[in-house]
C-alpha cells in the first residue's frame, strides 16, 4: 500500500518543551498518545504556513491549520485515542474543550501577549529570535494584535473598561482551572487510564505556563496550587516526550557547569572588549597629552640640516627665562598699585 507520511509543522520548542505554542503542543501530544506516524518539522519561519501560524498538518495535498480540524482529521483516519471513550465521555470532551477555549484561552492570550512585563521579557524576545529576519519585524506584532482583538472583543465591550475585562478574564480562568482540577481528581488522565484529546489540550495550554521562565503572575501561582493538573502535565511530558526532557536537563546541567567555571571571571565575561577598551583609552590619553605638550612648546622638534635627522630638544631654559621676565613685570604692577593706595 502506497503510504504517504503525514507532515506536521509546528513552532519550535524551548524551555524543555517540544514546542512553545499551546496548540502545537496539543497536536503533538495527541499524535504521541496514539503513535500517529507523523513527520514533525520544527520551525520558526511563518513563511511555511498558509495562514502564517502553526500547527499545520499536511497530508495528500491538503492542509489543516486549526486544532479542531486536525483532531477531526486524525479521528477520521482512525488515528487517535478517543475511540475508547463512551458516547457520554465524548460529549464531555467536547464540553470541556469548549470551556478551555471560552474561559482559559483568553487569560493565556492576555498573559502572553497583553501583559506588558511578560510580553517584553519573554514573548517578544522569544519570537524575535525564533522568526527569521524580515518576518520578525512584523509577525510578532500581528500575533499580538490578534490576541488583543480576541480578548477585548469577546470578553470586553463598550461599557467595560480594560482593567475590568482583565479582572474578569483572570477570574474566569482561575475558576476554569479549579473545575478541571475537580474533574481530574486522582485519576491519571481525565477519563481514567488512557489519555484523550482533552488531556492533549490541557497539556498544551498549561505546560508552557509551568515551564516557561515567566515573571510571577496570578495564573501561574494558581496553577501551582492545583497539584493534580501540574502532575498531569509533568507526567505527559516525561512519558511522551522523554527526548526533550533529557535535552533540557542536559542543557541545564551544562549551563550550570559553565556558570560555575566562569564564576571567577564573571566580570570579565560581562564586558567582552574590556582589554581593547583599556588599550584604546590609554592610547587616547597619551596622544592627547603629547599633543598638549607639543602645542605649548614643552616639546620642540627641530630638524637639523647636518645629519638630516630629527632631534628633540627640550627648551626648559628659555621657557623659565620668559617666566622670570613675566614675574618681574607683575611685581612692578603690584608696587604701583600699593603706591597708589598709600596716596
Amino acid at each position: 500500500m502506497a503510504y504517504e507520511k503525514i507532515k506536521l509543522t509546528v513552532w519550535r520548542g524551548d524551555w524543555g518543551l517540544p514546542s512553545v505554542d499551546p496548540h502545537c503542543l496539543a497536536v503533538l501530544a495527541y499524535c504521541k498518545f496514539s503513535g500517529v506516524p507523523v513527520e514533525v518539522i520544527k520551525t520558526g519561519n511563518p513563511w511555511y504556513s498558509p495562514s502564517g501560524n502553526f500547527p499545520v498538518l499536511q497530508y495528500k495535498g491538503e492542509s489543516y491549520t486549526k486544532v479542531s480540524d486536525i483532531f477531526n482529521f486524525l479521528r477520521k483516519e482512525n488515528w487517535g485515542s478517543d475511540h475508547e471513550l463512551s458516547c457520554k465521555q465524548s460529549a464531555d470532551v467536547l464540553a470541556f474543550s469548549a470551556m478551555l477555549e471560552e474561559r482559559l484561552l483568553p487569560a493565556l492570550l492576555h498573559l502572553w501577549w497583553m501583559d506588558d512585563k511578560t510580553f517584553i521579557d519573554v514573548t517578544r524576545p522569544w519570537y524575535a529570535s525564533a522568526i527569521p529576519f524580515p518576518f520578525s519585524l512584523f509577525h510578532p506584532r500581528r500575533k499580538q494584535k490578534k490576541a488583543e482583538l480576541r480578548v477585548l472583543l469577546t470578553k470586553g465591550g463598550d461599557y467595560i473598561t480594560d482593567a475590568e475585562t482583565e479582572a474578569k478574564v483572570y477570574k474566569e480562568a482561575k475558576e476554569c482551572l479549579n473545575l478541571l482540577s475537580y474533574k481530574l481528581g486522582d485519576k491519571p488522565y481525565m477519563f481514567g487510564r488512557l489519555p484523550s484529546s482533552l488531556d492533549a489540550l490541557i497539556f498544551g495550554y498549561l505546560t508552557p505556563l509551568l515551564k516557561a521562565p515567566l515573571p510571577s503572575n496570578q495564573l501561574q501561582t494558581h496553577l501551582l496550587q492545583c497539584e493534580n493538573l501540574c502532575r498531569l502535565c509533568n507526567d505527559i511530558l516525561t512519558v511522551f516526550f522523554p527526548a526533550e526532557v533529557r535535552e533540557s536537563n542536559e542543557s541545564k546541567k551544562q549551563n550550570d557547569e559553565a556558570k560555575k567555571k566562569d564564576g571567577t571571571k564573571s566580570d570579565l565575561a560581562e564586558f567582552p572588549h574590556r582589554r581593547r577598551n583599556i588599550f584604546l583609552a590609554v592610547l587616547f590619553v597619551v596622544a592627547a597629552m603629547t599633543g598638549f605638550a607639543f602645542a605649548h612648546g614643552l616639546i620642540q622638534i627641530t630638524i637639523s640640516d647636518d645629519d638630516s635627522s630629527m632631534t628633540v630638544k627640550q627648551s626648559i631654559a628659555s621657557k623659565s627665562e620668559g617666566r622670570e621676565l613675566r614675574s618681574q613685570k607683575h611685581q612692578d604692577i603690584l608696587e604701583e598699585s600699593t603706591g597708589a593706595g598709600e596716596d
Partner: protein, 259 residues
Amino acid sequence: MSLVVDAVQATIGASEPWPDDVILYQQYQVEQITLPDYAQCLAVETFLHMCGLRFRVEQRTNAEEMSPSGKVPFIQVGPYLVSEFDPVVGFVSTKGFNLSQSLSDTERSEMRAYISMIENILGNAELYMAWLYPDIAAEVTKPRYGCCYPWPLSWILPWRKQREVRARLEANDWASKTCEEVCGEVRTCCQALSERLEKKKYFFGDKPTELDAMVFGHLYTLLTTILPGGHFTAVVQDFDNLAQFCKRIEDSFFKLAFD
C-alpha cells in the same frame, strides 16, 4: 461586573431577602428582539422560574443601553443591576437560591463545562446566523433591530451592530466559517447534549440546574424562531430527546407561571 461589585453584592445581598419588585428588562419580544438576545433572555427567565423567584418582565426599546454591561437581559433587584446569565446566577446564589447545591464537585464542573459549550458554540452560531448570514441579516435581524428608531437611525444602528458582531466573530475565527460548517458545529453540540441527557428528566437527575435553564433558553429559541432557511430548527429537531426536553420545561415552568 467588577470584583468590587461582586464582593459588595456577596456581603450585602445575603442579608436581604428577595424583594417583591424585581424587574427583568429586555427588548420588545414580538417586534424588536434578535435571536441571540432572545436566547439569553429566555435562559435567565427560565433560571429565575426554576429558583421559584418572583419577578416581572419589562420590555423596553432601549434595554440594551440601560444594561450595565451593554447586554440583555438584566435584572433590577432593589439598588442592584445585574446583567447576563453568569452574574445573575452568582447574585441569586448570594440570596440563598442555588440550583446546583446537591451536585458533587465533579458534576458541578461538568455542568459549568456544558454551560461554556453552549455559550461558545450555540452563542456564536446564533450571532453568525442572525448577523452574518446575508438573507437573515437583511430580512429579519436588521429590520427588527432598527424597528423602533426613526429613519436614519433605523439604518445606522443595525449597521453599526452588525459591524460589531462581525469584528467579534472575526476575532474568534467564526466569521470565516461557512453556513454548513456552522450547522455542523450546532449539530455536534446538540449531539453532545443529547448523549448527556439520555432519557433523564433533567441533565443531572430529577432536579433542574443552571444547565437546564441555559439549554432550554437556547434550544427553545432555535426551535420556535422561524427564520428563512430554517437551518438550525431542522438540526435541533433531529434530536428527539432534546425536543421533548424543551416541551417538558415549557410545560412545567412557563404554563404554571402564566396561569
